[in-house]
Amino acid sequence: MTSAAAHDYSGVPQGAPVYELTNVSKTYARNQVVALQDVSLTLRKGSFTSVIGSSGCGKSTLLKIMAGLIPPTKGRVILQNKPVTGPRRDIGMMFQQATLFPWKTAAENIVLPIEIRDGKAAAKKAMEAAHDLLEMVGLKGFEDVYPNELSGGMAQRASICRMLITEPAVLLLDEPFSALDELSRDLMNMELQRICREQNATAFLVTHSIQEAVILSDDIVVMKPRPGRIAEVVPVDLPRPRTLDMMTTQKFGEIVDRIRAMLDKGEDM
């Protein structure tokens, strides 16, 4: 299925549900803080969803639950028809920092998830796939280069490859490019879109940037703090593929303004 078929460009993804959260709540026992209250969310195959909200709105908690790093207090967390009860290989994750290990080459870093799960022999077999992924993100020829010699943007490209090597069903992106300068960031966002389309990936992005959310997403989940909950899900009906030029269009501006108004309202509470 191509990405074009997955969307009717109305912003509503048409693919089959991949990740389903139903009434997920999280209360931290330590201080009885309700970090997340009754969050229900469906990620469809090939869709790009962003979550945005002020700090304390529970988006980090939500991401950790979705990654299988912490258990919810209540609710159902189902990925590919199986409950998420811990980290899984069909969950790919990317962080603010590239976190490449300096004692491994770019390609060795990329096959690390395979090495951890299946051992060194399997990792060696995956080397070819790592080379292909590096080529896809425009890092052909950098296979044997150590991370110290990579720029910030290149390192994040490599960490995209590491996330993709296990062919995950869902990509969880925790502000992946926020440590980059703005020019590289825009560029990497367009790269991310291209990669997601090529792989027909299901992506879930946590971000602080409204512009970034709008330019990348089919749906934007706006969250409110105390307790963390979903305020509204805003569909983005800009055509795909998105281009940076779209950031100057009236429609783009309207969606940004709408989300900003929602976030400002959230601040008062």
Binding site: G68, G86, M93, T99, F101, L112
Partner: protein, 288 residues
């Protein structure tokens, strides 16, 4: 070619280039070799002056020339396989065994303390308590337990060198940042995998810092052990020379001993550069 219009007259004499000399203090511009030679010459010169003017008794401080002559004598003895070489070899063995023992114990304890909550809670306080004790004071105990042979010296050397290695290892295991830990969790890594594939390699620079401090300590431990527990090592030669008021000999023996210490340190440093090849040099360059 584009012509740039300027308000200045264009005849060559009036064109001024904005090239200027950046001021560098003279003391910072001296090359390393010159600076080192300078300090050496000043040191020897002062030494010569103090002894030549008879400001101190020759028994307390020999002249540089006397010391140099004695160094040649000791060097000949070492090179021709004299009794001093036997002594030096004993001390070198004490240092090697002591360091190996310190690495084995220090690394194990460091992993216990750095990796497990039990170690941090229950073992670390005792280690800190022992570390604050003057460790050379244990020398008579080691002699009583292990005798006057090489064993008691090895024990003291290892005892002194263990603690920096424990601290270095434990600190190294804490060096990995939150992102790396999270990443390993998301990859479903076991505790052992996280330790071996991530925490230990990340902590290697700290571990090597501990090893370097330990390498210095192991030398001090072996010599102190010989001072206090007899034996046949280089420390004993120093003690005997000092008791005979043969100060030039004491000086030259110390200098040869420092070569051993330096070699050990350089071996650790060389290993570090090979193993931790990704670490940027932070100490040793003053090109700021």
């Amino acid at each position: 070619m584009t012509e740039f219009q300027t308000n200045h007259p264009t005849d060559e004499e009036t064109v001024q280039e904005t090239v200027w000399e950046q001021e560098v203090a003279f003391i910072d511009s001296v090359p390393r070799s010159v600076a080192m030679t300078f300090v050496f010459v000043v040191f020897i010169g002062t030494w010569q002056l103090v002894t030549a003017l008879g400001m101190v008794s020759p028994i307390i401080l020999p002249t540089p020339m006397e010391t140099f002559k004695d160094m040649i004598f000791v060097g000949q003895n070492l090179l021709t396989g004299g009794y001093m070489l036997d002594s030096l070899w004993i001390t070198i063995l004490e240092v090697i065994y002591g360091f190996a023992l310190a690495i084995a114990i220090g690394f194990s304890l460091g992993v216990l303390v750095g990796e497990t909550a039990f170690g941090e809670k229950a073992v670390m306080p005792y280690l800190v308590a022992i570390d604050t004790m003057p460790k050379v004071a244990f020398a008579p105990l080691f002699v009583a337990w292990l005798g006057f042979g090489i064993e008691s010296k090895v024990a003291l050397a290892a005892f002194i060198a263990t603690f920096p290695i424990v601290v270095g290892t434990a600190a190294g295991l804490h060096a990995a940042d939150e992102n790396a830990r999270m990443l390993f969790k998301t990859m479903g890594a076991s505790r052992m995998q996280t330790l071996i594939k991530m925490k230990l390699p990340t902590g290697l620079p700290q571990i090597f810092t501990g090893l370097k401090i330990g390498a210095v300590g192991v030398m001090a431990g072996a010599i102190t052990g010989e001072f206090l527990g007899g034996g046949k090592g280089f420390g004993e030669l120093i003690r005997v020379a000092a008791s005979q008021l043969n100060t030039p000999r004491v000086f030259s023996l110390i200098l040869y001993l420092s070569v051993v210490g330096l070699v050990l340190y350089l071996i650790v440093q060389w290993t570090q550069r090979r193993v931790v090849f990704w670490q940027k040099e932070t100490v040793g360059s003053y090109d700021g």
